[in-house]
Symmetry: C2
């Protein structure tokens, strides 16, 4: 029941010898979701043992090269690997033209179907829905159309508190209804003092007889962006945030003009959202050491970590007891 975020590229526009352009893998149980696909993503995936075949969905935040230029090689490599399954790509509308040009020029050997889902929203919008997971896109503030993504596990089916329902001798139908979150209303009777049977309507309130087996987990991807107030509200209570952290406070003005965030701004967002953990990334190439970046964020939001190529941030499954 894995739910983890693997950072494979923590550079901003300029990669360095050790920092690659943006590309990350969110693993939700057996499924892998590729988030952004900067140059070198496929080599990083090989390096960190990511299975290409388990990726059916790719999310591109915006159409800047450092978030996109690894995609063409990957699409080609997937074809060479014998892929037949459909591949879904979620990206701003302008990607359609880029994909068409790529397929026209280089797509000869690509036989599998690529389905492009253009994103367009001003508020959080569900763009992916499966039995266990839904993904919402929301607009960020950056040059050109840019979206963040919120990945949310769905609430699992409820468990029933067996020792509590036993005395009621419920039918399988009623138990199924409890698991679906419904109350049970049924006629019952008791024998009165004078020996007569009194019928009445009995309600078994769902909350008294069921519990969530575990807490659904969530992850928010927020880069590239200038900090803005509404963001925290859109990702309220999220377990893990990966946030633009291009600069330290010293370069706050530069962050503003380039529409990026400082680590402190990222931390304010995480605090305001009541997040479980914050992971910083998308560092400017000017930083060799990221100590200041980290300490400035931790002053605001202690549960902050630095992303690094190959690091995996796991969200443990929090099970509830009967």
């Amino acid at each position: 029941m894995e739910f983890s975020f693997l950072t494979m590229g923590t550079a901003s526009a300029l990669p360095t010898a050790n920092r690659y352009p943006s590309a990350h893998i969110l693993t939700v149980r057996e499924r892998l979701f590729l988030i952004d696909c900067g140059e070198g993503a496929q080599m990083q995936m090989r390096k960190f043992g990511v299975s290409f075949a388990k990726i059916d969905n790719i999310f591109i935040s915006h159409l800047h090269g450092d978030h996109l230029f690894g995609l063409f090689g990957l699409l080609f490599t997937m074809a060479m690997g014998g892929r037949t399954a459909d591949l879904h790509i979620y990206a701003p509308g302008g990607f359609g033209k880029i994909l068409s040009f790529f397929m026209d020029q280089f797509g000869e050997g690509i036989k599998y179907n690529i389905e492009f889902h253009p994103i367009s929203c001003k508020e959080p919008l569900q763009i992916f829905d499966s039995r266990q997971l839904e993904v919402f896109a929301f607009p960020l503030v950056h040059r050109g159309e840019t979206y963040g993504f919120l990945f949310k596990e769905k609430e699992p089916q409820l468990n029933v508190r067996k020792h509590l329902i036993e005395p009621y001798k419920l039918s399988l139908y009623d138990i199924a209804r409890l698991k679906e979150g419904k109350d049970i209303v049924r006629s019952a009777s008791f024998i009165d003092d004078d020996g007569t049977e009194v019928e009445y309507e009995e309600t078994l309130k769902n909350e008294d007889f069921t519990y969530l087996p575990y807490k659904p987990r969530s992850f928010a991807y927020c880069t590239d962006t200038l900090p803005f107030k509404r963001l925290a509200g859109w990702i309220k209570g999220v377990d893990l945030i990966y946030h633009d952290s291009t600069y330290t406070k010293e370069f706050e003005e530069l962050a503003k003009t380039t529409l990026h965030s400082t680590s402190e701004a990222a931390a304010c967002c995480a605090k305001e959202a009541g997040a479980g953990k914050l992971v910083l990334g998308h560092y400017s190439s000017r930083y060799k050491s990221l100590d200041t970046m980290l300490s400035e964020a931790r002053e605001v939001f202690p549960s902050t970590e630095l992303a690094k190529e190959g690091m995996k941030f796991e969200i443990e499954l929090e099970k509830f007891k009967e």
Copy 2:
């Protein structure tokens, strides 16, 4: 007076965790020439300490992704680095459309001038000419228009054998002519037995009074290609060859159908060309060990080496003595 070949990507179409797509640097004295630019080239360049600013010329052998997909990120990074110098790109004609599309979609921040030189030839053709170096393109046999490249240092100006010319008391003009490779024809005289002055025409043959200070060096880039007979003739006497070596002999048939070479075929080419050294590369991802690849080539051409990411093959300057 460096003349060296740095291999930064030895993979064929499928990169692995350690092998990157094709990208190489030929250093000729202070100038760097980028040959092919597969995905991740700019990260490899950072890793191996290659100066982006020293690259003014990029040679693309053919328009397959594994030789090209690193170019877009590099062009952008050069712009971010403040480049103002013109950049020259030599590639098959189809590249023009790709460059136009890239500049249209992603080129906003690229202010320096990119000059595209389309290559088209059936025989070796000079495509670059400077004071010290010339580059020839020649057609290879592969899917789509594909070219190899021959880099040749020009013959340096001749040195004069000072102790031999001293008795002749030559003018500076005549010395300059000797250095340019010309003979000196001049009138001279001697005193005959009877005391009369006899005039005659004296020829100082260039070869008797001059010598090459060093041997001009050369390098041939031959990938991707099916082996073919004329190739060796076109690169006769070359010091160093980098040659397509996608397969071992076991997969000779596959090499034929995919229009690639075995290491043995590469060795035959090097032997036939009378090359100084052969470097193998462009390995299929099926090979973890390259021992067989190497031994099969060395049986034909002992002076064979395996390319590896970050390896530099230097051609020492061979100085001649007076």
